[in-house]
């Protein structure tokens, strides 16, 4: 083939190769070195963040810190109400978003035809994933707190976070359903099962680990969110623990925000802030890691 017949970039390359081999390997070495340096820089930054939080927060961690109430204007004591509030809020979020999310994913993967309606749903999911969390907060205030008169409460905040995590839950569940081989469906249908029977008995059970992975990823996102709960139910300080869905609550991310920006003696409570950051990051990372491990385990099983 003549050089002139090659596609433009390849032609250029062919022309370039007139230069010495040594020159090229030097350039390549430098370029790849630079790429590697970029990645190492990113990795170093991540390690630095985790190291700093861990090394300064680990001294605070004790059974008492996690299970005691805050004392003396939150300058002493533990973070129990914030821990409990975060656990409650993630459970409500899961209850609000998982059913709808899984059902929507079943629609998309099992029932949806390739038409305008389906495209609009997919477009909506991708756009919802990009909506800023504070905008979900505004929506939660207007809809749940005011219009539906749920007030600032666990329920309002949980429903707000439920909407926020919906795109994550749907996408992950759909991926899990997609991974179920078609032969599973066809086998059931060939035996005379209806579509729903095939889905219920063959598709959902095998997609379940993947769906659970998506659920964990979704609620770990919810556990770390602050902006959507600022005005829908999170409280600066509460003397008692939340006792119903209409209670206000303290939460780990909001507690960290307060302890690092709003507290009256910020320097004094810095160790508590570090401890809170470590507990929060520990919680979220544990959830993420277990989701990732579960996914890896399940993928291996599906292949094998």
């Amino acid at each position: 083939m003549k050089k002139s017949q090659l596609p433009a970039p390849l032609g250029e390359l062919a022309a370039d190769n007139g230069r010495s081999r040594g020159h090229h390997s030097l350039v390549e070495g430098l370029a790849f070195g630079l790429l590697r340096l970029s990645m190492l820089l990113v990795i170093a930054a991540i390690f630095f963040i985790f190291y700093d939080i861990f090394s300064k927060g680990v001294g605070m961690i004790s059974w008492e810190f996690i299970t005691a109430m805050p004392r003396r204007g939150m300058t002493e004591g533990g973070i129990w109400p914030a821990v409990l509030g975060t656990v409650y809020i993630t459970l409500i979020t899961a209850a609000a978003s998982v059913p709808v999310g899984v059902f929507a994913a079943i629609y998309l993967n099992e029932y949806a035809k390739k038409n305008m309606f389906t495209r609009v749903i997919r477009l909506s999911i991708r756009n919802l994933a990009g909506v800023p969390s504070i905008v979900y907060g505004l929506f939660g205030v207007a809809l749940f707190v005011r219009a539906l008169e749920l007030g600032t409460s666990l329920l309002s905040a949980g429903l707000t976070l439920g909407l926020l995590t919906l795109p994550v839950t749907i996408t992950a569940s759909e991926e899990a359903l997609k991974a179920v081989p078609d032969s599973f469906r066809e086998g059931a249908l060939a035996l005379g099962a209806t579509k729903w029977q095939a889905i219920r008995t063959n598709v959902i059970p095998s997609a379940l680990p993947g769906i659970i992975t998506g659920m964990i990823l979704g609620i770990s996102r919810a556990a770390g969110e602050t902006a959507p709960i600022l005005f829908t139910g999170a409280a600066f300080y509460l003397a008692s623990l939340p006792n119903s869905l209409s209670s206000r609550f303290m939460a780990l991310p909001y507690h960290l925000f307060i302890m690092s920006t709003q507290h009256h003696s910020i320097e004094k409570v810095r160790p508590i802030a570090y401890g809170t950051a470590l507990v929060l990051i520990g919680l979220v990372v544990t959830m993420n890691m277990s989701a990732i491990l579960l996914r890896a385990h399940y993928r291996k099983k599906m292949r094998g």
């Binding site: 390849l10 250029e12 970029s38 929507a104 389906t118 990009g130 800023p132 504070i134 207007a142 925000f257």
Partner: protein
Amino acid sequence: MSGSLSPCIKTEGGLFLNRKLETAIAYFFTLNGAFVIFVLVGIFALLLSSSFAAWQDVGLISFLTERVWNPAGFVSSQFGIFTKIVGTLMVTAGAMLFAVPLGVATAAYLAEVASSWEREIFKPVIELLAAVPSVVLGFFGIVVFSPLLARIFNLPNGLNALNGSILLGLMSLPTIISIAEDALTAVPKEYKEASLALGATRWQTLSRIIIPAAGSGVTAAIMLGIGRSLGETMTVIMATGNALQFPSDFFSSVRTMTATIAIELGEVPAHTTHYYTLFAIGFVLFSMTFLVSLLADIFLHRASEVKKL
């Protein structure tokens, strides 16, 4: 699995009943799918209707172009968000200035250069960063970057646009890296093989064949990174100092649109002009991220066309 099949087929009534039930079930799932559209339209409608209330009092043009934001003015209140738009765009631009080259280079390394053990180790580490809550990054900005920046640049404190940019950049890195890497790995093998067969080096192949071929996907990755930065609240609220003045450079303290909503919504009485303007800021934010998501979508679509080729 097949063992559980036969009993349930027997138990479920006649063919006619079955068909009715099937249709009902199909409708039920369709309804759940449609719910997503309701949510998106609901958010849009709510923000827009509140925004109209705000613009009736303030005027759309002066709302967008006036610099002064003084909701509780003694003589008269002023609701111009231009300064906040500039603040938001500034921290986002600053973030992208280093996150884009760093992210794309990392993605290129992981996709084309890294050995398989490097990929095994480093990809999960980068995923870990994506899991860090934004409030923790904001805290990190306060306790680490702020004193650091103050010392390096000799400032009274380091809570400024630069600090916010660094944190937002860090935050959008995992998004940029993972989507750009997907785009780079999706480039058909034939492109690479043809280039190498013609005697091009691996670097020439990467820089002149693979990256241009993945251009749409990489652009989509950058768009999604921008989207994350524009909408981020907690890190900027904690790291940028939230001053109301018009910023002069990256060492100025800025208040973004998101921070304004988060700071003021708690204190404002409902159904006042101030209350509605906060929703109007939300609407502007929503429009910006909507546009960015849409662009990302178009680029991703284009990327999948390339793949089919």
